[in-house]
């Protein structure tokens, strides 16, 4: 039985108080509310288990854990989805779920990036992490991250330029 008043638990509680909202928002931007609740709780369970190795700047590390937990969650959902597709008869082949945003042309362009490139951009510009923090979250060096971010922006720009209007853009402006 864990003593919930122990310093270790209280430290995790303080970590939770400081960062749970950010992790929950991160998960919410990438999944539904139920999954976001679950992912948030599991991230801090991992934090508890690895409490001895949490870095001083914990937030990027927590984002890194959240990314993995979310990925695990998606794999589970994908397997469940495989069943529902089988039952519903829809062909398999669904891609990774992308965040829902109003700029559908941007969604389509983001879809063309690698998962890591996309994550680097979104951590930088949505979660507003510094490049150093993004590097920590993704487990790469600062220099590698700088190159990755630069290339990711270039790829995104090319993807947007290649398809100035996509089906989604059309649909977004539908008069119906």
């Amino acid at each position: 039985m864990v003593d919930m008043s122990s310093d270790e638990v209280q430290a995790i509680a303080r970590l939770y108080e400081a960062h749970a909202a950010a992790i929950h928002a991160y998960a919410l931007r990438r999944s539904d509310r139920d999954s976001a609740d679950e992912v948030t709780a599991r991230v801090f369970l991992v934090a508890w288990r690895r409490r001895a190795s949490i870095p001083a700047d914990a937030l990027p590390w927590l984002y890194g854990v959240a990314r993995k937990v979310l990925s695990e969650e998606r794999r589970g959902a994908s397997r469940r989805g495989a069943l529902s597709r089988r039952l519903g008869g829809t062909p398999a082949g669904a891609a990774e779920q992308l965040p829902e945003i109003a700029d559908t042309a941007l969604t389509a362009a983001l879809a063309q990036l690698s998962s890591l490139d996309r994550e680097a951009l979104l951590l930088r510009y949505w979660e507003e992490l510094s490049p150093e923090q993004v590097a920590l979250a993704l487990g790469c060096s600062k220099a590698t991250l700088a190159v990755r971010l630069h290339r990711a922006r270039a790829r995104l720009r090319r993807a947007l330029a290649a398809k100035p209007e996509t089906e989604h853009a059309c649909a977004a402006g539908a008069k119906s």
Binding site: L45, W48, L83, R86, L87, G89, K175, S176
Partner: protein, 482 residues
């Protein structure tokens, strides 16, 4: 370049979804922490009265024997089919389970920890599938036990309703009604409840009211189960596991087998909850004619041709036998239809279903060949015109569920376009068919084959798969609809 980078950054920032983050209370995490530190599962929770009932039940479960009945274990609420099966239709996909066909086999396997034995049942569906369901057996009914983490550890037996688990372990029966559905061992929770759902979904242990938190079960709460049907001509199943080898005689006309092992150390610790065990039994089936083959693992494509089962899906068809005029019409505003798969050859997008009326193409034709089972299906493929600033020549691929279609029946495929650009939309209707397979879930091969073909992915069509053009169509859309 920097200004371009700033533009991209600004666009990304502007697109950031605004969400209302309300994380669950820390008490949720505290509960998980307590749970993770407390080791083995706590079967005893809740009120003293509940605890007493559970203690009685646990005591009862330690008794060995096969005559488990109501006198020893009270029945609890039955386990209902999953939502997917509530929505199932008799003529779509696998069809619906036929309760009158439900057959509980007399085959039993003792549980390594004692208590009610394991058993299995077979149920047919309206589209010719036969589905095998295993679980704990009490009073001749297959179900799950309220022990460990299941059913708040109420100590009761919870029978599976007829449709429970259907869709998980199904194969198409042959013309003689014979089933061949052989699977290697899977990980299951000792209570049997994981077998009521997708086996990847619940081989984890949850606190009451916390479904799918992903807490891994202790090994003692897990079993390795192997079950299946080997057809009428199987004579024995050779089992090799952890240094032991023995033979099992297939049971009844189905040639059924059912084996229950303690889960080895390291089970259920893979990247997926409920992942396969690191060490599993090797199963070899022997047939009357002296041939033998390995029972395939979950993703193994190794196949053998056992006696007693007709794997053919009938004579191979020709395009001439299927050819029929195909008509297409455009409607500016219509609701419904399965959203198509959109692909440009490299990237694919499945558009979310929408109930909003929008532009659609309606493809119609009279099918010369029926699709009575999920072994064949029709699909439509549309090439969209290359219009500057519009679609860029992508393809739309219908995603209709597989339907029962009678020979001569008029078929209508509605394809929502989401938006249109003017120009010529050309396409064709395709017919896909596969033979039965030793692989469970052969209908997935059909749908997977259609997907791969349509996505332009490498597709090594085997001799047991057919893909034929039924007819072509084209339509000129004069206006944009954006």
């Amino acid at each position: 370049m920097r200004s371009l980078d700033r533009e991209i950054a600004a666009r990304l920032r502007q697109a950031k979804p605004q969400v209302e983050a309300t994380p669950p209370p820390f008490a949720t995490v505290a509960t998980l922490i307590q749970r993770s530190e407390s080791g083995p599962p706590r079967a005893i929770r809740g009120s003293r009265r509940q605890r007493f009932g559970v203690l009685l039940a646990l005591g009862a479960l330690t008794l060995a024997g096969s005559g488990w009945g109501a006198s020893q274990l009270l029945s609890g609420a039955p386990v209902s089919p999953t939502f997917a099966w509530v929505k199932a239709k008799p003529t779509v996909a696998l069809g619906v389970p036929l309760p009158s066909s439900l057959k509980v086999l007399g085959l039993r396997a003792a549980d390594p920890a004692g208590g009610p034995p394991w058993g299995m049942r077979i149920i047919r569906t309206s589209r010719g599938q036969a589905c095998i369901q295993a679980g704990r057996v009490v009073d001749g009914r297959v179900g799950a036990l309220g022990t460990g983490y299941a059913f708040h550890a109420d100590g009761r037996f919870h029978p599976f309703a007829p449709g429970v688990g259907v869709g998980l372990e199904c194969s198409q029966v042959d013309a003689g009604g014979n089933l061949y559905h052989a699977r290697g061992a899977i990980t299951a929770s000792a209570d049997g409840l994981s077998l009521a759902e997708n086996t990847f979904e619940r081989v984890h242990c949850d606190l009451p009211d916390q479904h799918n938190w992903g807490v891994r079960c202790p090994t003692s709460q897990l079993r390795l189960l192997a079950f299946g049907a080997l057809g009428p001509d199987a004579t024995r199943l050779s089992v090799s596991f952890q240094g032991r080898s023995f033979d099992v005689r297939p049971y009844g006309p189905e040639g059924a087998y059912l084996l229950a092992f303690p889960a080895p150390k390291g089970t259920n610790v893979g990247p997926y909850f409920g992942a396969q065990a690191p060490h599993r039994p090797t199963l070899t089936v022997h047939f009357r004619d002296g041939s033998s083959c390995l029972v395939p693992e979950a993703n193994d494509t190794d196949e053998c041709k056992p006696e007693g089962i007709d794997f053919s899906n009938g004579p191979k068809l020709t395009a001439a036998e299927l050819a029929t005029p195909v008509h297409v019409s455009y409607t500016k505003r219509l609701a419904g239809g399965e959203p198509p798969l959109t692909t440009d050859g490299q990237h694919s997008v499945v558009v979310d279903p929408t109930t909003k009326p929008g532009p659609v193409l309606i493809v119609t034709f009279r099918a010369r060949v029926g699709t009575p089972a999920p072994l064949s299906a029709y699909a439509a493929e549309i090439h969209r015109p290359v219009i500057a600033g519009c679609f860029g020549g992508s393809r739309l691929l219908s995603q209709e569920p597989t339907h029962t279609i009678a020979s001569g029946q008029r078929v209508r495929i509605v394809i929502p376009l989401q938006a249109t650009c003017h120009g010529r939309y050309a396409g064709r209707v395709l017919y896909f068919a596969i033979d039965r397979s030793l692989q469970p879930g052969s209908e997935e091969r059909l749908l997977g084959g259609i997907s791969r073909r349509m996505l332009g992915l490498p597709h090594n069509r085997g001799r047991d798969e057919q893909e034929l053009t039924v007819g072509r169509f084209a339509i000129d859309l004069p206006v944009d609809h954006r």
